[in-house]
């Protein structure tokens, strides 16, 4: 089995799986009906992308695990999502800020991956990129509206940014897996990705009149399976049905 490729796909798939689940928690709780629908639509796209990614991961692994097995039947330490996506929803401003920081990473990532030497990754990226452009536009516009909005909305999204900033560096985590895949033309420069992300984030936050925190401390661990306490609660809910009724389908 191609261990590096499997590991990479799980990282890619777990980010969208966990963020998709977080967004789905807004279902029926959105601040306005249109945003309730928007967040659940985006959740659906993310979970759909996860389906394609984890399905392929299962094929690469070659042990007969399906996308459902991977999504519902792994233990916490086997999840490889970044800590950013498992952070709680907070208020609408927190959710939009988390989404924006992620979309600003995911969009250029897929723009790179459409040129992957791995045909299946290129296909998934081309499909997902079209959706991600909508997500990015949605979250970036909200960050600007809220940041450059009322005193209260400004304060709330600034606080959200201050809280979430320490989880952003981890998206650019690089180890031997990335170096191996990059040498094979399957993935591309994380350095370029980070530069693009920084430019986008700076430009949007400037428009939003928000200040990038200067505190340099950054968390990591998610890519190695070391998560915050939040992931356990997410998995308890996500996996409940499959654990209680193994093999259940509908």
């Amino acid at each position: 089995m191609d261990n590096a490729l499997f590991e990479y796909l799980v990282r890619l798939g777990d980010d969208s799986l966990i963020l998709g689940h977080r967004l789905s928690e807004w279902c029926g709780h959105g601040p306005i009906l249109e945003e309730d629908i928007a967040m659940t639509n985006i959740a659906l796209d993310l979970v759909g992308q996860t389906t394609s990614i984890l399905k392929y991961a299962g094929e690469v692994e070659g042990k007969g695990r399906t996308e459902d097995d991977l999504a519902f039947l792994r233990y916490e330490r086997e999840y490889r999502n970044t800590l950013l996506v498992e952070q709680p929803n907070g208020d609408f401003g927190v959710t939009m800020m988390r989404q924006f920081l992620f979309d600003a990473f995911r969009k250029p990532l897929f723009e790179q991956l459409v040129n992957s030497s791995d045909a299946q990754i290129a296909a998934i990226a081309a499909k997902s990129l079209k959706e991600t452009k909508y997500h990015f536009k949605h979250s970036a516009e909200w960050v600007i509206r809220l940041g450059d909005g009322t005193e209260e909305s400004h304060e709330r999204v600034q606080n959200a940014l201050n809280d979430l900033w320490r989880y952003t560096d981890e998206m650019f985590f690089t180890d031997e897996v990335d170096r191996d895949l990059e040498s094979r033309g399957i993935t591309f420069s994380m350095e370029d990705l980070k530069n693009t992300w920084q430019e986008t984030v700076k430009s949007v936050l400037d428009q939003a009149t928000l200040e990038i925190p200067t505190n340099g401390w950054q968390h990591d661990g998610g890519r190695k399976g070391l998560h915050s306490e939040h992931l356990g609660y997410i998995l308890a809910e996500l996996q409940y049905m499959q654990r209680a009724y193994p093999g259940m389908e509908w």
């Binding site: 629908i37 796209d45 499909k127 079209k130 452009k133 909508y134 990015f136 536009k137």
Partner: protein, 161 residues
């Protein structure tokens, strides 16, 4: 053996579960029909990654073939090339409008923040004085609009390229 044309005809009788005026051929979801290894293979592609209708479409296609005596068939889902609203047939766009859903219009690059919204004519009164209520509508493929002339709220089948 039935002709390939016959299979395509049958595909024209399979409707999209979420927009039931469109067939899966109008929608551009059926990409190919082939006979290989003694079996018909229908190749389909999803509109959106998370489109919950795909499984249903797959079942409906097999059901339709079965009703017509074709048992040896399978459906394959492919992601590439990725679906685009350019594949909606002209008759499909017409049917959408008659059904009350505005068909896709050409849009600028979606990455441009606060870009001019495309002008989406009202499917009821054709007025161009319409406004977007939400970028995301009743399903992943639609946005929500309202006509400022006749006040009709309507779905817009948004452009995906």
């Amino acid at each position: 053996m039935v002709a390939k044309e016959r299979i395509w005809e049958l595909m024209e009788e399979v409707f999209d579960p979420e927009v039931p005026v469109l067939t899966v051929v109008d929608l551009g979801v059926v990409r190919d029909v082939n006979f290989e290894n003694d079996s018909w293979k229908i190749t389909i592609t999803p509109t959106y990654s998370g489109c919950p209708a795909m499984k249903r479409i797959e079942d409906d296609i097999l059901e339709k073939l079965k009703e017509n005596g074709i048992e040896n068939a399978s459906v394959e889902l492919v992601l590439s090339p990725a679906w685009t609203t350019d594949w909606l047939s002209e008759s499909g766009k017409k049917k959408l409008k008659e059904y009350g859903i505005a068909p896709p219009v050409a849009e600028v690059d979606k990455s441009v923040l606060f870009a001019e919204r495309p002008i989406v004519p009202c499917p009821k009164c054709n007025s161009k004085r319409t406004k977007m209520i939400s970028q995301f509508g009743s399903t992943a493929c639609k946005a929500h609009y309202q006509c400022e002339e006749c006040l009709e709220p309507f779905d817009y089948f948004k452009c995906l390229k």
